[in-house]
Subunit: 222 residues, 2 copies
């Protein structure tokens, strides 16, 4: 079996979701923490287009972009729990929500932070909460009464949304708001606690305290 390396950064949710997926599949890998202020030759060579973590290097083959890596892992290592469901329509549903979270919902968190004035903030908050209602419905549909979007096990949507929890909590705490509102999304809220305490997740997902400390440490806005 060719060796597996992961170029990551502890506070990157995109790297974190790959770490959790590798843990779930019990894949041995060498984790190589990157200094994002002084990028390594290995990172620049492995991901010359984006120069970003995560990069999974399997043998001689680098794979970039977290969602692409998750699909790759699921296709190469078929042992352990599947990341994506087996039914094509269920797979499409999982990919749909992953795209929704990535492209539509999560960007609202930055939008909220940057919105100026109470009225503008309230408008973004409204959109975030509408999203929570949608994600709550998606959870109920996908989990089928079990603990995760993926059913009994952590799956694709769990990885995509769950990896963002440290940042969601940190950004919420610094701004006095709970993004995953318990009233709008009671099941989702319970899921978030369940995900965070899963053995494949603890030790990977940073606490909100660590993320807040990290946010304070950089001066360059991002």
């Amino acid at each position: 079996m060719a060796g597996v390396k992961l170029l990551g950064f502890w506070a990157s949710p995109y790297a974190n979701r790959v770490q959790i997926a590798l843990n779930l599949k019990s894949i041995s890998y060498e984790y190589i923490e990157q200094n994002l202020r002084s990028k390594s030759q290995l990172l620049l060579e492995s991901n010359p287009v984006h120069k970003k973590v995560p990069v999974l290097i399997h043998g001689d083959n680098p794979v970039s972009e977290s969602l692409v890596i998750l699909e790759y892992i699921d296709e190469v290592w078929t042992q352990g729990p599947s990341i994506l469901p087996s039914d094509p329509h269920d797979r499409a549903v999982a990919r749909f929500w992953a795209a929704y979270i990535t492209d539509k919902w999560y960007p609202l968190i930055s939008e909220y932070r940057l919105a100026e004035g109470a009225e503008a903030k309230a408008a973004v908050k409204e959109k975030i909460l509408e999203g929570v209602v949608l994600l709550e419905e998606a959870f109920v549909t996908c989990s089928q009464g079990k603990g995760y979007f993926g059913g009994e096990n952590i799956g694709y949507i769990d990885l995509v949304l769950g990896s963002l929890l440290g940042w969601l909590r940190a950004r919420g705490e610094t701004q006095g708001i709970t993004f995953l509102d318990k009233t709008k999304g009671p099941e989702l809220s319970a899921w978030a606690d369940r995900f965070s305490s899963h053995s494949a997740v603890t030790g990977v997902l940073p606490t909100s305290e660590k993320v807040i400390e990290f946010i304070k440490s950089f001066t360059r806005p991002n």
Copy 2:
């Protein structure tokens, strides 16, 4: 076999790529043109989150988001040419470039149009041309001396980039620029002509003239 319907709009590259994929796989389907200024009940019910075309309805199952639909088609209808390659690393490479085109390169075309002043436009043009060089390299690597990113047949990257050609040409013509620059991307330029005249594509991909007419017809900026 459950019936297949596609909710589309003739000028939508996202709908077009699905039409071309269905043609490539010789899948019979009912095409239902949508009026995007007055959305049909069927569209609103089938894609309540985004309310956008394309939506593929397979039996009772709606599938939204063009890239998700392409994967779904490839998984359900295994006859005909494959959209994604079979090797996991090749699949990852195809998904990587599809994401690059969607999230990084194509948005530069709007950025160019909206850039104010010669200097700002030149800076965006530079980024677009850097992208053309990358895509040219990707074409050479993926096509392996054959006609398409997918090799002998139109594949995933072909569908993603090829479906944008009508708009790329139209936006280029109205602004006196050729985005797929022939000097920077000679192979890519030849590929674009080849793709446009493929039997699965002609009759689906709108001409730049039709797109320009369409752009002139709407007053709401988008």
